[in-house]
Amino acid sequence: MTDVIVPKVAGGAYAPVHEEHGPTGLMKWITTTDHKVIGMSYMITAVALFYIAGLLALGIRVQLTTPHGTFISFQQYNELFTMHGSIMMYLFAGPFAFGGLANYIVPLQVGAPDMAFPRLNALSYWLYLGGSIMMLMGFGVAGGSADFGWVAYAPLSTSTYTPGLGEDLWIMALVLTGFSAIFTGVNLVATIFYLRAPGMTMFRMPIFTWNMLVTGILILIAFPVLTAALVMLFCDRHFGTKIYSVTGCHTTAGIVDVHACGSAVLWQNLFWFFGHPEVYILALPFFGIATEIFPVFSRKPVFGYKGMVFATMSIAALSTGVWAHHMFTTGTVLLPFFSLMSLLIAVPTGIKFFNWIGTMWRGQLVYTTPMLMSIGFLFAFLMGGVTGVMLASPPIDFFVHTTYFVVAHFHQVLFGTAVFAGFAGFYYWYPKMFGRMLNDRLGRVHFVLLFVGFWVTFIPQYVLGLHGMPRRVASYPTGLGWQSWNIASTIGAFMIAFSFVVLLVNVWVSWRYPVPAGDNPWDAHTLEWFTTSPPPHHNYTHLPQIRSERPTWDYNHPDAPTIRHGRSQGPPNGHGPYTGGDGGPPGHGNGSAGVARGVPAT
């Protein structure tokens, strides 16, 4: 431990590496402001909630194996799909990505010692945990949990129609987790703008970090709108305001008179103004994960790096102008505008696809579990994307809207991202976080079961939707041939569930019989693989020179630099990776010994 790099960080000096003081054990986890510990808490909580929501999904699927299922009552069914959707969307996918993985990985990828606001970061986690517990508490109160769907359409969500405590808990939980997301967004944006290590220019940032920057900005655009909408909903429920509520607004003819009254459709506009960016808040981080994994296991740089960045930005920009594609059948929105904007999102998404394929093209593909999961993500998202283009066309949406076709579509994209790409990231960074490998053979078993189960679950749902089966029904008519498709879907769901038992076994094996990972088991490209696994308290004792978006690769393979702009030869930016510094010995891999190496800063 000789040379210590002191990055120039905004707002003061960088504390040099020191042994951690203060509490240990459980107290350490509670009082910590270390982004790595907070990130891990986030991930463990989010994955636990994913398992809970998955169990709820199994309940849904069991109920639907017979047309007049008697497994649960209508009321319970309505609670189950509401909580399944809400947990998956608000408490699992987002927090897993930006609270968990990004929290852990982004500071490492930009060479920062921590997040920009470590205490705010801790507050984010506690708000998230509190909100999650609050939402789950709904199951314990009289009247049951929220039962108005994850979108809580007004006026069903006003106190006239859903007066229960479960609904109030749901609203308050989302206000808490909403603030948690906003704080994390602030933290990510500030960290990426201000705490990058010397040499880490914007266009040398890994794509995962780029995507998290754009995600952070999207969070800051979208979540305050949700929070405000929820506060207004709460006022409608408890303080007699009439923002969405139409109670007591009926004319003598029994029709609702809007002029004296709240506007129910306002909720849909506000909700989806949050909700569509939200689906990209849930997608972009996972695109980022896949974009880290494809290059590493193809042993090539990411193809079309700049195109990838601009594609991410244009997806984000477009995503704020398409909310009304969820409202085509309300008859209150300008169809052509929202249709065109939605169709256009296919373009940057297509660019990403071709860039991913271009990254694999002429590579040397290594099929580890993260790579398999990422390819699973490609196939899933491909079909989800194609059916998404169909839904962007209003006349088509008119007949598949709120049927199982939509359920199949959004699971292909959300499951494709949050589960395939999400767990690709889990397998990929687990060695960095815990210093031990997951078993690759068990990983493959997990992947195969998951992949087959995924298609068996969701392809029948497309068919059911086209045959006219609405979503959110606890019972369906006999004689329409729907039962066999539903049984198929349920079988698939149990395969998925089983695949996640295999994951638990895998994690258990890695604790019981640890296989040390070393610093860089995958021969990866980005900065986080340069430090030890797990990284020390403030992440780095040394940094390599950062001359491209692949500092660790450049360090380990100085003779194989990125070839830019079709030029046949030439090291990055016209410099050899080590010509500028006083040069540590290049060319030896940074193995598991954790020996300090690299070059001191200028």
Partner: protein, 246 residues
């Protein structure tokens, strides 16, 4: 090309790719668009699928040599930006035309006001003073004439509901404070299934109805016999509803 080809082909006798066969002119327009999108989507899916599959199999690791570290190919990148833009604009053009046909509001011969409520439907033929109401958990029946221009005015008494008849290949929200109007030109006689599609509370699953398309003559007779308003449909408790409610 695939897109345009798909949409042109759609004019011919193609299968509906799983979607219900339409019994209205509006539905037929939508289905043509669907066929075009389906074919275009299938072509794009297969193309990208094959690229991924080829790349994953062909470029499996064969040696430990480090492959060429290519990062950019500007011409190729421009190519796969521009082609999708053109494809999307073509899809949008067809969407725009179909949308205007489906949403057109020509002067109607018959008007029905449909009111959705928790958990049932009320069909009101104002001019003829006929009302059909489905009492909770009974499926009411909306009777409509074949071949005539029918205008539906849709609204809700309470929460948001969805008016959906698979055989129309069409749905629309019923919302409090908003009246949605749309046109149907029915071709085929028969009885069809309808259902609420927007989740509306406890018995959403059972909020069903039927549509019976009859000849104009039968329609006139039906109206005459049901005049005087407030007639409750003779709907029987369907076996399905009875069995499922607990």
């Amino acid at each position: 090309m695939a897109v345009a080809g798909g949409l042109l082909l759609a004019g011919c006798n193609l299968p509906t790719f799983g979607e219900t066969k339409p019994i209205t002119s509006q539905g037929q327009d939508s289905i043509k668009l669907w066929q075009g999108f389906f074919i275009a989507g299938a072509v794009v899916f297969l193309f990208v699928f094959c690229l991924i599959a080829w790349a994953s199999i062909r470029y499996r690791r064969r040696s430990h040599a480090i492959p060429r570290q290519t990062q950019y190919h500007t011409i190729l990148e421009i190519f796969y930006t521009v082609i999708p833009i053109v494809g999307v604009l073509i899809l949008f053009g067809f969407t725009f035309v179909t949308e205007n046909n489906v949403d057109a509001l020509p002067a109607p011969k018959v008007s029905v006001t449909v009111t959705a409520f928790q958990w049932g439907w009320r069909f009101h033929y104002a001019k003829q003073d006929v009302t059909v109401i489905g009492i909770e958990l009974q499926d009411p029946e909306m009777v409509l004439p074949q071949g005539e221009t029918v205008r539906i005015s849709l609204r809700s008494h309470d929460v948001v509901h969805g008016f959906y008849v698979p055989a129309f290949d069409f749905s629309r929200y019923a919302q409090p404070g908003i009246t949605n109007r749309f046109t149907l030109n029915l071709h085929t006689l028969g009885t069809y299934r309808g259902q609420c599609t927007q989740y509306c509370g406890l018995f959403h699953s059972l909020m069903r109805f039927r549509v019976r398309v009859v000849t104009p003559a039968q329609f006139a007779t039906w109206l005459r016999t049901h005049r005087s308003g407030g007639t409750t449909s003779r709907a029987s408790l369907t076996a399905s509803a009875g069995g499922a409610v607990r």
